[in-house]
């Protein structure tokens, strides 16, 4: 008989919350790599905070903040090659930005423009998925195509703990393992499915162990340790590229803010719990390491943050300036040739809009 209680699941960690840890492994990371990772994380944090404020100012629509999850997002994406495919949910802003998505593009998305979902051609990023766990299936399909075509890309499905309660996730996992396709299931376990805590979502001790039932490898990693996330992801991606099949990675992390700008986390989380995780801030431990190596100072940080703020302002202004199109455009993107009914609806929309303008 199997007893899940006897299953040993250890969490991979290189850098602990105080910036200490496995010195030999830490030493393997170059100054340059650490600085790149830190800058990407700090940039993401500043962008996230700005976006939250801009939502409160009515400049963008509903927004799902990711602060606290920078190491999981950026550590994983840094282990990818440029042409690897990303299948993001709505919280993967740091993943997409680091993989090359222009910030201006994201502003189009959060301002409700159709162009916001049309990624630039050269970027292997699927449109943001709102349906929970649906992108896991898309990732598997893409990986299968890659395999059939004999290409070497790896596909990565990004999702949260809540997605593991969905049927799509289980179907995707099963299919991926059966067809041995190069896909990584990267789960950021931020411990809440909106307001539902982990313990009420699943009786599994870990999400990583769910891999076993599908016949694939699973691993639990400290999602607030960018070094551990990178190392783990790198191994998974390389294995997938070698044809060794899919892997499930659970990055244990915590969302410091609300689920989206439309909820109040104080209603379902204890302030002490948030405080506990604030002490495990992924940026803090990396900055401690950088300072120990003499790579970063307050002055550098100030200068960098100011630069990012300028970047955000410029991207926002550029996005607003380049907005185009009208409500009638929504009829253009499902069929190459609009069926009769859709064509009629589109005409009606245009007619009404004109009538309004005449008034």
């Amino acid at each position: 008989m199997f007893d899940p209680k006897e299953l040993p699941v250890e969490m991979v960690q290189i850098l602990d919350e105080n910036g200490n840890g496995d010195e030999a492994k830490i030493a393997a990371f170059s100054d340059e790599w650490l600085l790149d990772a830190y800058r990407a994380m700090r940039r993401a944090r500043v962008v996230d905070e700005r976006l939250l404020r801009m939502q409160r100012q009515g400049r963008i629509g509903t927004y799902a903040p990711f602060s606290g999850q920078e190491a999981a997002q950026i550590g994983s994406v840094l282990a990818l090659q440029k042409d690897d495919w990303i299948f993001p949910s709505y919280r993967e802003v740091a993943v997409c930005l680091t993989h090359g998505m222009p910030l201006e593009q994201f502003f189009h998305y959060v301002r409700g423009r159709l162009s916001g979902k049309r990624m630039p051609e050269e970027l292997n990023i699927f449109p943001t998925q709102i349906i929970i766990a649906a992108q896991t299936l898309h990732a598997v399909g893409c990986a299968w195509a890659t395999k059939l075509k004999g290409e070497s890309h790896v596909s990565v499905a990004y999702f949260g703990d809540g997605a593991t309660s969905e049927g799509d996730f289980h179907e995707a996992m099963n299919f991926a393992a059966v067809y041995n396709v190069p896909v990584i299931f990267f789960c950021q376990n931020n411990q809440y499915a909106i307001s539902v805590p982990y313990a009420k979502q699943t009786a599994s001790r870990t999400i990583a162990q769910k891999a076993l039932a599908y016949g694939m490898k699973g691993v639990l990693v400290d999602g607030n340790d960018v070094l551990a996330v990178y190392e783990t992801m790198k191994q998974a991606v390389e294995a997938a590229r070698r044809g060794e099949g899919p892997m499930l990675i659970e990055a244990l992390t915590y969302r410091l803010g609300p689920h989206t700008t439309a909820d109040d986390p104080t209603k379902y989380r204890h302030p002490e719990e948030v405080e506990t995780w604030r002490r495990k801030d992924p940026l803090h431990r990396l900055r401690v390491l950088l300072e120990r190596r003499g790579l970063w100072t307050d002055a550098k940080e100030e200068e960098f943050v100011a630069k990012v703020n300028e970047e955000v302002t410029a991207a926002y202004e550029a996005a607003v300036a380049s907005e185009s199109g009208s409500i009638a455009d929504v009829f253009d993107y499902v069929y190459s040739e609009a069926p009769k009914l859709l064509a009629e609806q589109k005409e009606e929309v245009i007619r009404r809009k004109q009538a309004k303008e005449v008034k």
């Binding site: 009515g58 903040p65 602060s67 803010g257 700008t261 986390p265 209603k267």
Partner: protein, 441 residues
């Protein structure tokens, strides 16, 4: 030249209609930087910190703290040309590792605490209409939620303390005038007209409709005793029903007998007999707690206090050695004491020395109650109305005479389990009053 920017309240939460201003973080005349926090607002969904999209000088605010702003209406009006030296800048807000907070919730923790009021928008609206500062109202709903009933209670209590009420009311008016009457801009005028209409409760005409009765004499004594009891002894009340069908018959028959001797026989003598029997079985109930020595003092005599309603107020004359007295003797003594109580003719010794008290609220007093212990005793028994009720006996519904009883006990001395046994013992005697014959001497 002034360039006016109206920051209109956006729909920040998917389908919101309005928000309440909880706290302003800027004042009129302040110069603010873009992205600087300006206010905390409470929507139907969450408490949210608002930041200004542009820099400028604050021309006007949408209203006082506690006011409601509709989505699409100006929250703050800025003169963007007057943006001077900013107080703090963007990088400060997002640089330091010490302040890694991404969200409003996080920021809030570092600010001086302000009581967060939980209340439905309709209740908040009503509070504003009533001129009630909602943060002062104690919420009794789920999780401290303020309800309409709480508002009404607050107003009643405020009216009861007239001097306090007057201060509060005039205070509200003055603060609003001082802070906001300065708004001169056209937009803010429009807002302020809507918002700063004088509170509906002005200098109160209520004061003339009230009568003030000095708390003195017996009333004052009762007040002091009740406060002493309730704030000293942790009160717990148990309640149950007693089937007194047999007792009703017996009393009826005996009362007819005693009527010839002009003695009025109520249920109280039977209750006293039953209670003294129970007290003998459970000595902890005939006791006091000596707080000086931390000792429970068990009383070996049974002096029963009888709570008696008089015009002047509640009196508790004492029947000494009640356990030694017959039903007839008790009936006579109760009648005497009651008569004296109504004439205010009780001597001091007739009001002192009880070891346990019974309150018999009678037919008009409801079926149950939560009596207050006659401190320093440790329990009080309530005998309440008798009603003809359908009850189940041997799986059949029959009509029986049912009396409500309550027992309040001092939880420092007595636990719930013995209290339950005590009540069942009293009930046993009252349900089977013939048992009282067994000990008749």
């Amino acid at each position: 030249m002034a360039v006016i920017y109206e920051f209109k309240l956006p729909d920040i939460g998917e389908g919101l209609h309005e928000a309440e201003i909880i706290r302003w973080l800027v004042r009129e005349g302040d110069v603010v930087n873009a992205d600087q926090p300006i206010a905390e607002i409470q929507t139907d969904k969450a408490m949210v910190e608002m930041t200004t999209p542009v820099a400028g000088k604050v021309m006007s605010l949408a209203g006082p703290e506690g006011a409601t702003v509709n989505v699409g209406e100006p929250l703050i009006v800025l003169d963007t040309e007057a943006a001077g030296e900013p107080r703090g800048n963007q990088s400060e807000q997002s640089t330091g590792l010490k302040e890694t907070s991404a969200t409003v919730q996080a920021d809030r923790g570092t600010r001086p605490a302000r009581k967060r009021v939980i209340a439905a928008p309709s209740v908040r609206k009503r509070a504003r209409e009533m001129g009630v500062p909602i943060e002062e109202v104690e919420g009794t709903g789920e999780g401290g939620r303020v309800t309409l009933a709480d508002l009404e209670r607050y107003v009643r209590e405020r009216e009861a303390a007239v001097t306090v009420a007057e201060t509060v009311q005039s205070g509200i008016g003055k603060v609003e005038e001082a802070s906001f009457a300065r708004s001169s801009h056209a937009v803010s005028d429009r807002i302020s007209k809507a918002l700063f209409a004088p509170p509906s409760t002005g200098p109160s005409p209520l004061t003339e409709e009230e009568e003030r009765i000095p708390l003195r004499g017996l009333r004052k004594k009762i007040a002091e005793k009740m406060v002493k009891s309730v704030y000293t002894a942790p009160h717990v009340t148990g309640m149950d029903e007693i089937d007194v069908t047999k007792l009703v018959e017996i009393r009826k028959s005996l009362a007819a007998q005693l009527a010839e001797e002009r003695i009025k026989l109520t249920y109280l003598p039977f209750v006293i007999k039953a209670v003294t029997r129970a007290l003998k079985q459970y000595p902890m109930f005939n006791a006091t707690l000596d707080e000086e020595t931390n000792e429970i003092v068990l009383k070996k005599r049974y002096h029963i206090g009888i709570a008696t309603a008089t015009k002047a107020g509640l009196l508790v004359p004492v029947i000494r050695d009640a356990d030694q007295k017959s039903i007839r003797e008790l009936a006579i003594e109760i009648a005497e004491l009651s008569e004296k109580a109504h004439r205010q003719a009780l001597r001091l010794e007739e009001l002192q020395g009880s070891t346990f008290t019974i309150t018999s609220t009678g037919a008009g007093g409801g079926w149950f109650a939560t009596p207050v212990i006659n401190y320093p005793e440790v329990a009080i028994f309530g005998a309440h109305a008798i009603k003809r009720r359908p009850v189940v006996i041997d799986d059949e519904i029959v009509i029986r005479d049912i009396m409500g009883m309550s027992l309040t006990f001092d939880h420092r001395v007595i636990d719930g389990e013995p209290a339950g046994r005590f009540m069942r013992t009293v009930a046993h005697y009252l349900e089977n009053p013939e048992l009282l014959l067994l000990d008749v001497r």
